[in-house]
C-alpha cells in the first residue's frame, strides 16, 4: 500500500509538472500564472490526501482526496496537451470523474464510511453518471469539427482513440448537464442533512470542510448554469470562478488542518471538563460529558460489580445496545472490571483522542457516580426490607392475637361456663363453696379482661375485620378522656397504612391519658392527596417529645418505614397536636 501511495504521489507530481510545463509552453488561456496556481494547489491537495491516507489507513478519506484531485487534473489534460491522443482520451473519459469522488469524499467525511443508505445510493449513482456522461464524448466528439462553443475546438487537436464517428453531441450534453444539475442539488441537500444530523461534536469537525465544499459546489452550480443557458463565461465570471476554484481546492487541505486544530480545541474542552467536574453535583456527570463531547444523546451506564450489570444514574438496570443498533459503546476501565460505559453517537469514534481524554478526565467522577448508584440501590433495598419488616411484624401481631383468641381465651370462657354449671349443681346449700365459686368467677373475669386487653393491644381484630373507622371508634370508647372523632376515612386502605394510623391514635390517646391532663381530645383521620392524614389534638399540658425509646419515637420509626411522617406540636401549656401523614402507595422496592 505504501508503494502504491508513493507511486500515486510521484505520478501525480509528474503529471502536474508535465501539465504545468505544457501549459506554460503552449501559453494556454494566456494565463501561465493561473496554471502555476492550479498545479501548486493540486500538488498540496494530493500531498494532504496522501498524508491522511498514510495516517489513517483504515479510512478512505485520504484515498478519496487524492482521487478527487487527480481526477480533476486528468480532466484538464486535453487542454494542456491537445495534440496527444492519449491525453485527450483520458481527459474526455475523466471529464466529470472528480465529481463522484468529491461527493463520496464529502458525504463520508470524516469517517470515510457512508452511513446512510440514501448517501450510498447517491454516490453509486454519481459514479455511474460520470461514466455515462463520458460515453457520447468518447464516441462521437471530435475537437477538429465541433460546433459546440463550450468545448474547446482546434483543427490541429488529437482525436480520442475511442472516436467512432462525428456526431453533434451538444443536445445530449445539455440533457446530461441537466441531470448533473439535479444531482448537484441533491448532493447539497444531502450535505445539509448530514450537517443537521451530526452531533455538535461531529459538526465541529465537519463544518470547515463542508464550508469549503459548499463554496466549490456553488462554483460548480454556476458553471453548470452557464453551460445550461448556453451563455459563455465572460471575463468577470471566469475570473470569479477561477478564484472560487483555487480557494476551494486550497481550502480542502486548509479545512482538514482546521479540523485538526479544532480537535485540539476539543482537547481544551476536556480541560474545561476537568474544571467543571470539580463543581459538578453528583448525578450531573452525564450532562457535563455530553456537553464536552457535543453529543446530547449520550447515555451513561454505570457498572455495578456486585450485580455484574450496568445501571443508569437512578440505579435502574440498563442493557448496553448491540453493535447493529446504530449506537456506539465506549467502555471505561478494563473490560474485566469496567467502571462505566458511554453509549454515544458513532461519529464520536472519529474523535478517539477526545473521547479517551474526556473519559480519563471523568473517571474519578464516574467512580463516585457509580458508588452513588450502588448506595442508592442499597438504600432502596433497605427501605424495601424495612417495609417488609413492618409488614411481617404486623402479620406476626395478627397471628398472636388470633392464637390468644382461639386458644387461651376460649379455654377460659369454657371454664367460666363450667363454673356457672357448678354453681347451679351446687344449689342453694354449701355457702362456703358458693363464695369460693364467686371468687373464682371474679378472678376468671379479670383474667379474661386482661387477656382481651392484651390481645387487643397486640393487634385489634376490629382493625383487620372492619377497618380504621370502627377501630378508632373502639379506641375512643375505651379512652378515659372524652374523645371526639371528627372524621374517619370511609374506604379501606392498605393494611400497613391502617395499622400505622391506628397505632398513631392508640399511642396518642394512651399518652393523653397518662400525661396530658386534658379534658378533651379530638381525632381527625382523612385521605388527602394519596395520603392518610391523622391528627390527634388535646387541650392538655403539652410538652410531649419523641425521646429515644419512647412510644412516639417508635411510632416515628414505623411511619418512616412506610414513607410516612410524624410531626408533633406540643408547647408547654398549649396542648399537644400530633399529625401523621402516611402515603398509601408504598414505594415499590427497586429490583
Amino acid at each position: 500500500v505504501r508503494a502504491v501511495r508513493l507511486l500515486v504521489g510521484a505520478g501525480g507530481a509528474a503529471l502536474l509538472a508535465a501539465m504545468l510545463a505544457g501549459a506554460l509552453h503552449e501559453d494556454v488561456l494566456s494565463a501561465g500564472e493561473a496554471w502555476t496556481h492550479y498545479a501548486v494547489v493540486s500538488f498540496i491537495s494530493i500531498s494532504v490526501g496522501l498524508l491522511v491516507w498514510e495516517r489513517r489507513p483504515g479510512s478512505r478519506i485520504g484515498l478519496l482526496i487524492t482521487a478527487t484531485v487527480l481526477a480533476g487534473a486528468l480532466s484538464e489534460l486535453p487542454i494542456v496537451l491537445p495534440e496527444s491522443a492519449l491525453a485527450v482520451t483520458i481527459g474526455l473519459g475523466a471529464i466529470n470523474l472528480a465529481a463522484p469522488f468529491f461527493a463520496h469524499l464529502t458525504l463520508s467525511y470524516p469517517s470515510g464510511r457512508l452511513t446512510s443508505r440514501l448517501d450510498r445510493a447517491f454516490v453509486v449513482i454519481t459514479y455511474v453518471f460520470a461514466l455515462v456522461y463520458a460515453v457520447p464524448l468518447l464516441l462521437f466528439y471530435s475537437p477538429r469539427s465541433t460546433y459546440d462553443p463550450d468545448v474547446w475546438d482546434c483543427p490541429s487537436c488529437a482525436v480520442p482513440y475511442t472516436h467512432v464517428a462525428w456526431y453533434d453531441v451538444t443536445g445530449a450534453r445539455r440533457a446530461l448537464d441537466g441531470v448533473l444539475f439535479v444531482l448537484v442539488v441533491v448532493f447539497l441537500t444531502l450535505l445539509l442533512r448530514k450537517l443537521v444530523r451530526a452531533g455538535a461534536g461531529a459538526r465541529r469537525v465537519v463544518l470547515p470542510l463542508l464550508a469549503v465544499l459548499f463554496l466549490l459546489a456553488a462554483r460548480f452550480c454556476v458553471e453548470l448554469a452557464l453551460a445550461l443557458t448556453g451563455s459563455s463565461a465572460n471575463f468577470w465570471t471566469s475570473s470569479a470562478m477561477f478564484w472560487a476554484e483555487t480557494i476551494g481546492l486550497l481550502g480542502i487541505p486548509l479545512a482538514l488542518a482546521i479540523g485538526l486544530l479544532w480537535g485540539r480545541g476539543a482537547r481544551s474542552a476536556v480541560a474545561d471538563l476537568v474544571v467543571e467536574l470539580e463543581r459538578t453535583p453528583p448525578g450531573s456527570v452525564r450532562d457535563a460529558l455530553a456537553r464536552t463531547l457535543g453529543d446530547p444523546t449520550l447515555e451513561l451506564a454505570l457498572w455495578l460489580p456486585e450485580r455484574e450489570s450496568y445501571v443508569d444514574g437512578e440505579g435502574r438496570p440498563l442493557e448496553l445496545p448491540t453493535p447493529v443498533s446504530g449506537r456506539a459503546v465506549t467502555v471505561l476501565g478494563d473490560s474485566e472490571a469496567p467502571v462505566a460505559a458511554l453509549v454515544h453517537d458513532p461519529a464520536l469514534l472519529e474523535q478517539r483522542a477526545l473521547l479517551r481524554s474526556a473519559c480519563a478526565a471523568a473517571r474519578l467522577a464516574l467512580e463516585n457516580e457509580r458508588l452513588q448508584a450502588e448506595l442508592r440501590l442499597q438504600l432502596a433495598e433497605v427501605r424495601a426490607s424495612r417495609v417488609r419488616i413492618v409488614r411481617a411484624g404486623d402479620e406476626e401481631r395478627r397471628r398472636l392475637e388470633r392464637d390468644l383468641h382461639d386458644g387461651a381465651q376460649q379455654r377460659l370462657l369454657s371454664l367460666g361456663l363450667a363454673l356457672q354449671l357448678m354453681r347451679s349443681e351446687l344449689g342453694s346449700g354449701a355457702n362456703g363453696a358458693a363464695r369460693l365459686l364467686g371468687e373464682a368467677e371474679a378472678e376468671l373475669g379479670a383474667a379474661l379482661e386482661e387477656l382481651r386487653a392484651l390481645a387487643h393491644g397486640i393487634h385489634p381484630a376490629v382493625l383487620t375485620e372492619h377497618g380504621l373507622g370502627p377501630a378508632l371508634r373502639t379506641l375512643a370508647a375505651r379512652s378515659p378522656v372524652p374523645v371526639e372523632i371528627k372524621a374517619v376515612p370511609d374506604e379501606r386502605l392498605p393494611a400497613p397504612v391502617e395499622a400505622a394510623g391506628y397505632f398513631v391514635v392508640s399511642e396518642a390517646l394512651a399518652n393523653v391519658a397518662k400525661h396530658a391532663r386534658a379534658s378533651a381530645v379530638s381525632v381527625h383521620a382523612a385521605c388527602e392527596d394519596g395520603s392518610l392524614v391523622v391528627e390527634v389534638e388535646d387541650d392538655g399540658v403539652g410538652g410531649a417529645a419523641p425521646t429515644a425509646g419512647s412510644g412516639l419515637a417508635g411510632l416515628a420509626d414505623r411511619l418512616q418505614a412506610i414513607d410516612g411522617r410524624l410531626t408533633i406540636q406540643s408547647r408547654a401549656g398549649r396542648g399537644t397536636r400530633l399529625c401523621a401523614e402516611i402515603p398509601y402507595a408504598v414505594v415499590p422496592a427497586h429490583r
Partner: protein, 120 residues
C-alpha cells in the same frame, strides 16, 4: 317446655359446657354445629327456634350465617355470641339481622332468656 336451641361454635369444649348450661337453664338443645355451613344445614334439618351463633367461625363470619338464616324459611331467632366485646364488634352488630348479642364471658341461660323473652 323450653325453646329449641342450635348452638354454633367451633370450640367443642365451649359447645359442650354451653349445651349443659342451657339445658340446666330450661332450654332444649336440639343440635350443635362447628362451622357456618354445617350450622345452615343443621338449621334446615332441625328447625330450631333459636340459634346461638358465634361471630368468628372458621369458614364464614357469624354475621353472614345470620343473614342466611334470616332468609331461610324457618327464620329462627339468632343470638350472636363472641369472645370479643360488643364495642369491638359494633360495626357488624349495627347492620346485623340478629336479635341480640351476648359476650361469651356473660353467657348464661338467664341472659339468653332475657333477650329471647324480650322479643315475642
Amino acid at each position: 317446655m323450653g325453646r329449641r336451641v342450635l348452638i354454633v361454635d367451633d370450640h367443642p369444649t365451649f359447645r359442650r359446657f354451653a349445651t349443659r348450661l342451657l339445658k340446666a337453664g330450661g332450654f332444649e338443645v336440639v343440635g350443635e354445629a362447628d362451622d357456618g355451613r354445617s350450622a345452615l344445614a343443621a338449621a334446615r334439618r332441625l328447625r330450631p327456634e333459636l340459634v346461638l351463633l358465634d361471630v368468628l367461625l372458621p369458614d364464614m363470619s357469624g354475621f353472614a350465617v345470620a343473614e342466611a338464616l334470616a332468609a331461610d324459611s324457618g327464620r329462627p331467632l339468632v343470638v350472636l355470641i363472641s369472645s370479643r366485646s360488643a364495642s369491638e364488634l359494633a360495626a357488624g352488630l349495627e347492620r346485623s339481622s340478629a336479635c341480640g348479642f351476648i359476650a361469651k364471658s356473660e353467657l348464661s341461660a338467664e341472659a339468653l332468656a332475657a333477650i329471647v323473652n324480650g322479643r315475642p
